[in-house]
Symmetry: D2
Subunit: 345 residues, 4 copies
């Protein structure tokens, strides 16, 4: 069934396979009168773009967004914002030779079993290229959130076992974009880059975690019992490719504390509702499945084959996932600030 819409009032619907004509989407429910900061939007796109540094994939995608509707004389009209990103660098031939092969860790086999067939080129709809549309939705959401004073900062907190342990309160978020790996600590950043380069050199890949801090949030956001603010964030994060876990600040660790200790910890959300403090959460990413090393794989007829991936790919998705985490978080918050408008008579 359909599953390509996110949000209840501020609502993004996306389309597109990685090697089809285009990807894109529609943002419905964005209020009228918002200054449409297109420069900011394109800048956000650059943050997710492949080929931005030596530690990311060298695919060249223009990732230029064409806005088709919903904006007039520089402001949102209150009508749906349609947008489009053409797929330009389609090296479909990279995939022709593996069209019958189910790549390990990838969704190839399950798409075949779900739908009977699939667009095998570059993962089709299951490709992370789809997340470019999320960054567009998130950028519009961020512009809306500015009017509420809400700011969202994500950063890489761990690559394999290299971890940034600085408390979030002490982090200078302006350093994040200065780091190739989007870790706001220059020294840790260097170590992370070394781990990533080592993985690439061995034809392998690594995962890690991204932390996200949402500040400037008024109290009252979130709709228990099912649409709690943390539940919506968890849904948003686990919908991103390659994510495997989510925790509110110290979530798993807090399960080892005494109640008397834990009651002193403030995490920005209580009972599913924001309390005015910064909201902090962490998302775990598995190492990316596409690796260059030879791997055993199955074909769609059950044969075992040896696969050596030829496509260009990231040895670590985390640097490019930072803007995606922010985008999804921004859409959750945008939806929630609009939902809150109906809380009281």
């Amino acid at each position: 069934m359909d599953g390509n819409s996110f949000g209840k009032i501020f609502r993004l619907t996306t389309f597109g396979e990685s090697h089809g004509k285009a990807i894109g989407g529609i943002i419905d429910g964005c209020p009228a009168g918002l200054e449409f900061d297109e420069a900011f939007l394109q800048k956000e796109m650059q943050r997710r773009k492949p080929g931005q540094s030596e530690i990311t994939t060298q695919r060249l995608e223009s990732d230029e967004v064409e806005f088709l509707s919903g904006v007039f004389e520089g402001k949102t009209l209150g009508t749906p914002i349609g947008f489009l990103i053409r797929n330009e660098d389609q090296r479909s031939s990279d995939y022709e030779s593996i069209k019958h092969i189910y790549r390990p860790g990838h969704a190839d086999a399950v798409w075949d079993r779900k739908f009977g067939f699939r667009d095998y080129r570059g993962g089709g709809r299951s490709s992370a290229r789809e997340t470019a549309s999320r960054v567009v939705g998130g950028a519009v959401a961020k512009i809306l959130l500015r009017t509420y004073g809400i700011r969202i900062h994500a950063y890489v907190s761990k690559v394999k076992h290299v971890e940034l342990k600085t408390p979030f309160q002490d982090i200078d978020f302006s350093l994040t974009e200065k780091s190739l790996v989007r870790c706001p600590d220059p020294a840790i950043s260097e170590k992370m880059i070394a781990v990533i380069e080592s993985a690439r050199n061995s034809g392998d890949s690594v995962g890690g975690t991204i932390d996200c801090v949402i500040s400037g949030v008024e109290a009252g956001l979130g709709d228990p019992v099912f649409d709690k603010l943390d539940a919506m964030l968890a849904h948003a994060m686990l919908s991103i490719n390659a994510t495997r876990g989510f925790e509110m600040f110290r979530g798993f660790e807090s399960s080892g504390l005494m109640g008397s200790e834990n009651n002193l910890v403030n995490t920005g959300i209580v009972g599913g509702i924001s309390d005015g403090h910064p909201i902090v959460f962490r998302t775990a990413f598995k190492p990316v499945s596409t690796i260059s090393m030879a791997q055993q794989a199955m074909t769609n007829t059950g044969e075992e084959v040896t696969l050596e991936a030829k496509g260009r790919h990231d040895p670590c998705v985390l640097p490019r996932a930072v803007p995606i985490v922010e985008a999804m978080a921004a859409m959750v918050m945008a939806d929630m600030v609009l939902r809150m408008r109906s809380d009281r008579v």
Copy 2:
């Protein structure tokens, strides 16, 4: 705004404050012709019920469910199933003295800030009593899932630092219900109980983790890109009271593996779609906020007071949360099997 419905086809909507007249709900979208196993339903309710053992709260709630519609001659009609659980043991007076006090770790203050006022008795809508309605929805979902051969088994995998390390494949799920703490290993179970009793004796509380294994799942469940199966499970889990984290099998740990290692791990969901293997996930619970020890608290006028909770409460919610985890997982799966019916022409 509203947030009291869960699911898209198999859809539960709930109502009720802990000390109002009743709690209950409506299950819409349950297919017609399902044998309505009411004995099983009431048994599921017993598993969540307070006062079931010496390590849970001694509140007495009858938790008896009255079904009002949607069932005829022992089978579901395809019409909405309305149900009701009366609130009987309402010691509202326990709360009268603290009506102006915001209990630490509780949602009292944020509800006031969201809605302007609240039902302060026992947490009102934010009380975990609400989860009884989820167990009803989950029990009906489980009956539906039987027809698909899908089975769901949750168990307590950690209390504070006492952890069950047995791989899920080696666990005998029939032992779970024999343990007061719902841990299927008798020796670990004893240690967990000791930790809980120690917490209660000191007027404190402890948290932990619950693992859940879903087996018998056919491939193809889950609707990318936003309604991935793991995203729906994460949403479901984080909507449960006191949860702080969610991970697919080895989720956070996998972020420290190499891609070549991790590609060999099977977790039942790839790219948001089930692959036919057992689905395993873990949910983290914080220690329950209500404790008997004296704590500093704020009143609604900003005064600091010392609070000593008099209500009866659980020193550890995990044993009673096991059926709730299963119920939410069952509703996700029930929705998804119905959604999958529209995948192909």
Copy 3:
């Protein structure tokens, strides 16, 4: 699939078969802080109640609503409002003899074909008894609409061929409730009653139309392109039992006008959005299907039988349908005023 919820923010979900234990529902999304005028609510119920006059069915239903949640200290909490109406006067035996017979004009056969079986007693879920829950939802919606100055007045404008031709601007709505047939013109009212009594005496039934005027509406309500205000009203009206048509003021007649004439007519909605003028629409009701005369009917095995209905029924549903039309219109408007809160930054 499920189809028992109405509204996007202000959302009613209902349950219940006519001869089951109870009917009822949940109103989710009603803002907090609304004075809950329960006396008004029960009065609205009286208007729909059977047995209220000699021209309606003589069934006795208490139609007393029990509110179970969502209200505290006389005000809405912002949490879901659960409610219940017990089915008391269940003369199920009236229906035992016809359990295998498909009553002409009724939905008996299609429910069997849709779901495989049905609750045959009194129409089960297809009974108009279900509309009592709508009146509850509508009454809460009306209380919310008061705060916006929006008023809703429906009245019977035609019974068979007896028509009230007074322009809506000249009608004294206070007369509606003084008429047994709910037509605000005493002389026309008498003629309508005569037609209804004549139908009853011959064991037959009659239909007609109900007009509805919504005034005090600010401009800007309605969400093109699909959720236009008139589209939502049409949906609402055609969801009521026995309705067969809907038109905005002079809708079918306007199809015979010239554009230059029609552009001068104001109807309260332009392009799907309210313009501040009164909104006027008309709903057509077929004559009620249950009649006392002998009719040819089919059984579920395809036999032809002669059927003489023994249940108590209305020879004309229109007087009791007036509050239902108002209730559905009120829920559309309540949803739309809340939706409008997100129109602008």
Copy 4:
């Protein structure tokens, strides 16, 4: 708030202003494996296209649809189908002179009041150009419905007072497309054309009615109590520009029959559920608001002005509305056949 999506499983979301860069949409929930008959799709577009005959507007719009995703090797993938129609013939300057004028009968003023400002060029989002996206959605729905044997035939049944009175059973639907006015009776068709030409010559416009017959429908479609099949059709029809009324076969007329007469009439839907017979309904269209005659209008500052429309427009929208009525009906039916898949265990 957002209102640009239609359908629950088979779901169309649209975007686009008439003089922006493009209009288009996303169809989510279309099952995988459907043969994508693009020739049929483009043919459906031709039926709605302006400039197709001497009695329609002479605007030239290419109306060529570009499909961007969701289709691979000639079949639907089960992923969202994104599509685009560029706005080419943008004579925006036609509208520059009237940017401050609220055209009589148009939604100009209400859009300003709803959103604070609007794209004044050609009606912006309120333009009927938006319906081109509906025809795309409807064409895909029709292809899906073929696999169920469901056929949809609409035709013009009345222009002003010229009415086609042939019973629907006796109509040869193959004649509809041979008539400029899309009335399947050549003689009546001539009279209708004469009425339209007369209106155009006097700078005026005319309305009328469109009938629609859906055949090949199995019993069981429709989801009471709120998503009755006729309620969904009514919603769909009233969401089309310029519609003012909807009735099921003989709907308003049936309100003047006796129950004993009406029970013999079969209309394809009983109690909101299809019964296997053809479904017949009628939709009323007002005369189009844009006329060439001089009219009194208001500006956005409240001044009265005389307006003489210079844009090219249809003197009667009905011929071009026939495919739109079919498209909306097709989407309702497509959604309902998919919804029905979850009716039974």
